[in-house]
């Protein structure tokens, strides 16, 4: 395993159970700074658990997790909060704060985690709203947005504090093809222009093909393949073959 400062996320033999169910078993992988790694796998194989472990929302039963070289499994709450300020998390269901307006959802992390004056916060909020195409919806409540728009709101909120690492839990789930394209463009822009490290959970190869540098395949809580996208995509693994054939049929349909 690479231990130098170029590694943004590193899992070292991580295991996790919830109740009596084993979710992850000895999962190890690392993501270099400024690159994108996608985790593919069927539903219920522990992909979301990997992301929640990476940001300290869950604690592993065994193993170590490093974010920007810091072992988050050994950190106390204030230090964990400090590490979280360098990460962003886009939830599968967006997890928008439904009691406050769209613009306030984005402003909230800025108010808590930065010492910016209110006018700069509002300026930053507007920039983010324009970036995700929600500038006309800033005063709406999250409940008034469609699934895709809520997903974009989740994006904008996660980007509010300019995270060095962005964790995305199935950002294409339940969104229309136009929103899916916007999300792909945003991710490419983040990777190429902002050099943001991306750790993406996805269900379809077609969504991550042009973004990912690295691919990891989870099956039954085990990491069955991990490496450069082209190598993993060609490997002789039943799950991988299913994803590639699904991608071919998706491409034909589109």
């Amino acid at each position: 395993m690479n231990l130098d400062g170029s590694v943004a996320v590193r899992f070292d033999q991580v295991s996790k159970s919830i109740g009596t169910t084993r979710i992850l078993e000895d999962v190890s992988f690392e993501v270099s700074r400024g690159t994108a790694c996608s985790i593919l796998g069927r539903r219920g194989t522990g992909k979301t658990t990997v992301l929640k472990l990476a940001v300290g929302l869950l604690k592993p039963d065994r193993g170590r997790i490093f974010i920007n070289g810091e072992e988050i499994t050994a950190l106390d709450t204030p230090d964990l909060m400090r590490v979280r300020r360098s990460t962003g998390f886009v939830f599968q269901n967006s997890a928008a704060f439904d009691s406050i307006a769209v613009s306030e959802n984005i402003a909230l992390p800025l108010r808590y985690n930065s010492s910016k004056p209110e006018n700069e916060i509002q300026e930053k909020v507007l920039q983010l709203l324009i970036r995700v195409g929600l500038e006309r919806d800033s005063h709406k409540m999250p409940v008034d947005l469609s699934v895709g728009m809520r997903k974009l709101l989740g994006f904008a909120r996660a980007l509010a504090c300019d995270p060095a690492i962005l964790l995305l839990d199935d950002p294409w789930n339940g969104v229309d093809s136009i929103t899916a394209a916007i999300i792909r463009r945003l991710l490419l822009d983040l990777k190429q222009r902002c050099r943001t490290t991306l750790l993406i959970v996805a269900n379809k190869m077609i969504d991550v093909r042009h973004i990912s540098d690295q691919l990891a395949i989870l099956d039954g809580g085990h990491m069955v393949a991990c490496g450069p996208l082209n190598e993993v995509a060609r490997c002789d693994n039943q799950i991988m073959r299913q994803f590639v054939s699904q991608e071919d049929s998706d491409a034909r349909l589109s």
């Binding site: 929640k52 940001v55 300290g56 929302l57 709450t77 909060m81 400090r82 979280r84 300020r85 990460t87 962003g88 998390f89 939830f91 269901n93 997890a95 928008a96 704060f97 439904d98 909230l108 992390p109 808590y112 985690n113 909120r157 996660a158 509010a160 504090c161």
Partner: protein
Amino acid sequence: MRTSRTSTSNSHLLRDSSSISRLWIATIGLLLFASRTLRELLRLPWDAEEISIQLYEIGWRSVPLILIGGVVLGIVMTQLIWTSLVNFGAVDAVIPAELSRTMFRQMGPLMTGLLVSGRVGSAIGAELAVLRITEQIDAFESLAIDSFRHLVITRVIACVIALPILTTLMSFAEIAGGFLWEAAHSEMSLWLYVGRLFDRIGWGDYILPTLMTAVSGFAIGTVACYFGYTVEENAVGVRRASMHSVVLSCLFVIALSLIVNAMMSFWFPGGAQ
């Protein structure tokens, strides 16, 4: 048949033992949660903006319920006191004093606690449970916002501040209700009624029971937040969080009322004059 009966009996035993272990886990969990709440309460700064929002939700929006409940209770209590005292040969003149003593010492704090437990306890329990199951609490944490301080501490502080104020309102609303009954049944003037209210009570009758409602506020806030914040299931979890919040906070309020009453009888056996 015997096998079936044995297995049914075993399943009852298993269910009972699992209920006991769940109760045990919940009790330990609540105690740990309450001790964390106390520790965090002492750590400054507090989230003043969120506390003011919660004070509006918990305190200000409870005012109509407290006022209406207080007036109705005052009417009922005056009628009961009047019936009892008249049977013992007392006159109308002592009713205001007896009423104010009962209201300030017991009924005001108790009824406020119970009404707030029902209205606010269930609301906090359900709200936090929904925030948990829709991953909004995880979202706070992922944004490096301490969800415990932002959601739990602010609500507990709002309950602690709101309860004594609502109790004072409740006590005066009850006295107003008492006057309405008195005015309908005798010719006592408002000024005479007000003058006689404070014949047999002192500041001690008001201050200690009212301040102790801050403890009720802490109990209501902590219990409701515990059940909501730690919920693990979906719709069933929300229902349980809401129900358990109300039941347990009502029990705490009643227990605290008994303790305060015992303390008042010990320190001020003949009234705090």
